[in-house]
């Protein structure tokens, strides 16, 4: 019979491998119906915050109940048994450890800075209650998905791992890498710094586990106060003292370390020591919530894409209207991983601060593939709705295609318009039927009087879907002579220019 610690290790390896498998499988070739957003869907913080911002527990997010309900009974097991970021932090803290044993005892005892995560949680939840979803910045699952999708996987593929056909590039990807590296490096100074001090999901599960039935108990008669139980303690929950049950990951290391078998996991027995309640100052908590209440109107009073439509904020097909989109998107970058053309990019401040790292289309990098709907398939929160190809391209029973924006010619840069040179690559690649780009054959005279017959292109806005392939393939390589802006996007009622969107015949 393997010990509880061995069982926990098997779970940790299994879940981390599963996480890597899902990240790897999130592409056109390997998707095959795997629930690749599984870890995002079992994340109770995503579910709760989404519930606060949009009053629904969207489909797969109901899976979060399989984490939250057992936590009520068993304690905060998620952090060391399931969470890929927690497991990664644990391994790195352990293997990169240069401390001597007595320092381990010191470093693994409870510190008051561990309270910070509860205040972070309170702040993020207050913002969510106002309708502003910022948990994605710090939610560990969204954070590790984003870091792997944007940073680790493309970096790994620089050594020709064969994950991508052509390595993707990401807008300001280095900031996402840097945050991840900081989190990893912090383990050098304090074991599982992220999990103990900052993680808002850990805080939420900590709150839920404070009433747990089963927990670690210390027999005060058997205990000799040797503190050996602290040597490998993952949560920093003082098993040598009155246990801080909200900090305890039930990693079971203390039980196996105890030379006196004074510790056990289960119901209290005779001589079992009491546990300490959640260590959060009520005054601080109220202060944080007030801060959230103040922060919300401040953040909302800056220019953003939902205050007034922004030309470069082109969202993936099936995206909700901007305000609803921001209320659902957790910045996990699953859409950017699955996008076959690398057009989906993490926004920096283009959409306002709220939209940091949410997906936008940068058409010089890629374009929206006409028959591709993968981003909506992998989105865990339906910020990008799962749409069918028929809905996207406007085939029966749908009347209208989904428009992302509208293309405009820059006649000063366009070869047939400005340079008496034949081209119309944009017309060739235009995927709609009939093509949204049409042309008029025109005889043009150059400065020497030589006459050339060129086809001068135009856009028909009622047919254009804003996919951006024209901008992407335009031979004017730096700033294309045809560019898509968000006006005319289906998801917005205001971002329109034509009085009546003509039906496509």
């Amino acid at each position: 019979m393997p010990g509880l610690r061995a069982i926990r290790r098997i779970y940790a390896i299994f879940f981390f491998a599963l996480f890597l498998f899902f990240i790897f499988s999130t592409d056109f070739q390997h998707l095959k119906g795997y629930e690749v957003s599984f870890f995002l869907e079992i994340d109770p913080l995503t579910a709760l915050a989404g519930l606060l911002t949009s009053y629904t527990l969207y489909k797969g997010l109901a899976l979060s109940l399989i984490i939250i309900i057992p936590t009520l009974f068993l304690g905060r097991f998620f952090c060391s048994w399931v969470c890929p970021l927690g497991i990664l932090n644990q391994w790195l803290s352990h293997f990169a450890n240069k401390r001597r044993p007595f320092e381990e005892y010191k470093i693994n005892s409870y510190r008051s800075i561990y309270r910070i995560k509860y205040y972070i949680l309170a702040l993020l939840l207050v913002l969510s209650a106002f309708g502003m979803l910022q948990i994605g910045l710090l939610d560990p699952i969204a954070l590790i998905y984003r870091s792997f999708n944007i940073s680790i996987l493309p970096a790994f593929d620089k050594f020709d791992a064969g994950i991508y056909l052509n390595d993707p590039l990401f807008n300001g990807g280095i900031f996402i890498s840097a945050l991840f590296l900081l989190i990893i490096l912090a383990n050098r100074f304090l074991t599982r710094f992220w999990c103990r001090v900052l993680c808002p999901l850990g805080a939420l599960l900590g709150v839920c586990s404070q009433w747990s039935l089963l927990r670690i108990h210390r027999d005060v008669e058997k205990c000799t106060d040797c503190s050996k139980c602290l040597q490998f303690c993952q949560g920093g929950c003082d098993p040598d003292n009155e246990l801080r049950v909200s900090e305890c990951h039930v990693c079971m290391n203390c039980i196996e370390q105890c030379p006196e078998t004074a510790l056990h996991y289960g119901l209290a027995k005779e001589n079992s020591s009491v546990s300490k309640p959640l260590d959060v100052g009520k005054r601080r908590l109220v202060e944080t919530m007030v801060a959230g209440g103040v922060l919300y109107p401040m953040l909302r009073s800056s220019i953003s894409a939902h205050a007034s439509p922004a030309p470069t904020v082109i969202r993936p097909p099936g995206s909700l209207a901007e305000e609803e989109f921001l209320a659902r998107c957790i910045k996990c970058a699953a859409c950017m991983r699955v996008c076959p053309t690398n057009v989906l990019q993490p926004a920096l401040l283009e959409t306002g601060f709220e939209g940091l790292w949410t997906p936008i289309l940068i058409n010089r990098q890629g374009y929206c593939e006409h028959h591709c709907v993968l981003c909506g398939q992998v989105c865990p929160t339906a910020a990008i709705r799962p749409i069918s190809i028929e809905e996207k391209i406007g085939q029966k029973p749908f009347d209208e295609p989904i428009r992302l924006g509208t293309a405009f010619f820059d006649r000063g840069r366009c070869l047939p318009w400005a340079m008496q040179t034949p081209c119309i690559v944009c017309e060739e690649v235009c995927p709609t039927t009939p093509k949204a780009i049409w042309y008029r054959p025109t005889k043009v005279k150059d400065r020497h009087g030589k006459i050339t017959l060129v086809k001068q292109p135009f856009v028909e806005p009622a047919t254009c879907i804003g996919c951006g392939i024209c901008e992407n393939k335009c031979p004017v390589t730096d700033k294309a002579a045809i560019r898509v802006t968000s006006v005319g996007e289906s998801r917005s009622k205001n971002n329109r220019m034509l009085l009546e969107e003509k039906k496509v015949i």
């Binding site: 060739e428 039927t433 031979p475």
Partner: protein
């Protein structure tokens, strides 16, 4: 102080004798000489040291001409597989073109993420039966490659070509950005250009184009299909599309060309999308003369050779003959 061990920070330097001095000075001089030599060798008037790029040349993939067989075989019918095989048989059978152990590269048109019934890519049935023919002739490897305009993995998958190729024992080769080699095309417009490296690996090449409408050149036929071996900023070639098509056809001399005119995209090319723009013409043409083949295939699009400048230009470069009727052409009807 004698007898007392010096503290850690007060440890004393050993005095240098002549021997030690020479030893240390010698080591330093060696290091200095190494630095100086390195500096001398690295010195250059150029800001960047460039190694000259290796330039490849395209071989001639054609087989010996023969008076015994026609130059072009047009087969109409309903079963694509037997039409393809009949067309090749008329030209002398597959063994005339493919020898045992040959590496054969097939170049279908897989430009777009479209389904077979949309007629934007070569039909998977045609590609499948050509792979099958090559395998029957004992080809060592059958590679199928194209440089798609849409996402290549989606294009190969959703066109049905990936499955057809795997079913008959061929290999799909998708070109990533590292799969191109600089090649001297020897053209008037196309000089040195990045070309798919799989061309250099092949002993024989079979061009598998499709008949399609194209708004700039008027049509996409066999000669235009060679755009799909190029990398780089190939959309700049549109600025003189006719010259670049002729340059390509001049540089690439395939073993055989088999034209898919089963489903013909008549409008809104080359991307298509609407099955209503596609008409079934149920024809397969095998040819050794791409100019004659293109000249014949124009008919499906309601065009005549005078509409298409690149045909006369190609004839002037001695690539082939526009007047296909004066050649030895076999026409047949199957079932």
């Amino acid at each position: 102080m004698e007898g007392k061990k010096p503290k850690k920070k007060n440890r004393l330097e050993t005095l240098q004798g002549r021997r030690l001095f020479l030893k240390r000075a010698g080591r330093l001089s060696g290091g200095a000489a190494f630095l100086a030599a390195g500096g001398y060798m690295a010195y250059s008037d150029d800001p960047v040291r460039r190694t000259p790029e290796k330039i490849h040349f395209l071989p001639d993939y054609r087989v010996e001409p023969s008076k015994m067989y026609p130059l072009m075989a047009i087969v109409r019918g309903s079963n694509v597989d037997s039409m393809v095989k009949q067309a090749v048989d008329k030209l002398g059978g597959v063994s005339r073109f493919i020898k045992k152990g040959d590496t054969v590269l097939l170049k279908p048109n897989v430009g777009w993420d479209r389904m077979p019934e949309q007629g934007a890519n070569t039909g998977p049935e045609v590609v499948g039966s050509v792979v099958d023919l090559c395998r029957q002739a004992g080809a060592g490897r059958v590679l199928v490659s194209d440089v798609s305009l849409n996402d290549p993995r989606r294009s190969f998958n959703r066109s049905g070509i990936e499955k057809a190729v795997h079913d008959y024992g061929g290999e799909v080769k998708i070109c990533g950005s590292d799969d191109f080699v600089m090649t001297d095309m020897g053209g008037s417009l196309l000089k040195v250009w990045p070309v798919s490296r799989f061309l250099m690996e092949a002993d024989k090449i079979i061009n598998l184009p499709i008949v399609k409408h194209h708004s700039l050149s008027g049509c996409t036929l066999s000669m235009k299909n060679w755009y799909g071996v190029l990398g780089g900023r190939r959309n700049q070639l549109h600025q003189d599309i006719h010259t670049s098509i002729v340059d390509l056809a001049h540089a690439l001399k395939p073993t055989l060309t088999i034209m898919d005119a089963v489903r013909v995209l008549k409008r809104n090319g080359p991307t298509g999308g609407n099955p209503d723009d596609v008409v079934r013409e149920n024809t397969v043409i095998a040819s050794l003369d791409e100019v004659a083949l293109d000249s014949f295939s124009l008919g499906f699009l309601g065009l005549v050779p005078d509409d298409i400048p690149f045909l006369a230009m190609a004839e002037a470069r001695k690539i082939g003959q526009v007047d296909w009727r004066s050649l030895n052409v076999s026409q047949s009807q199957l079932g």
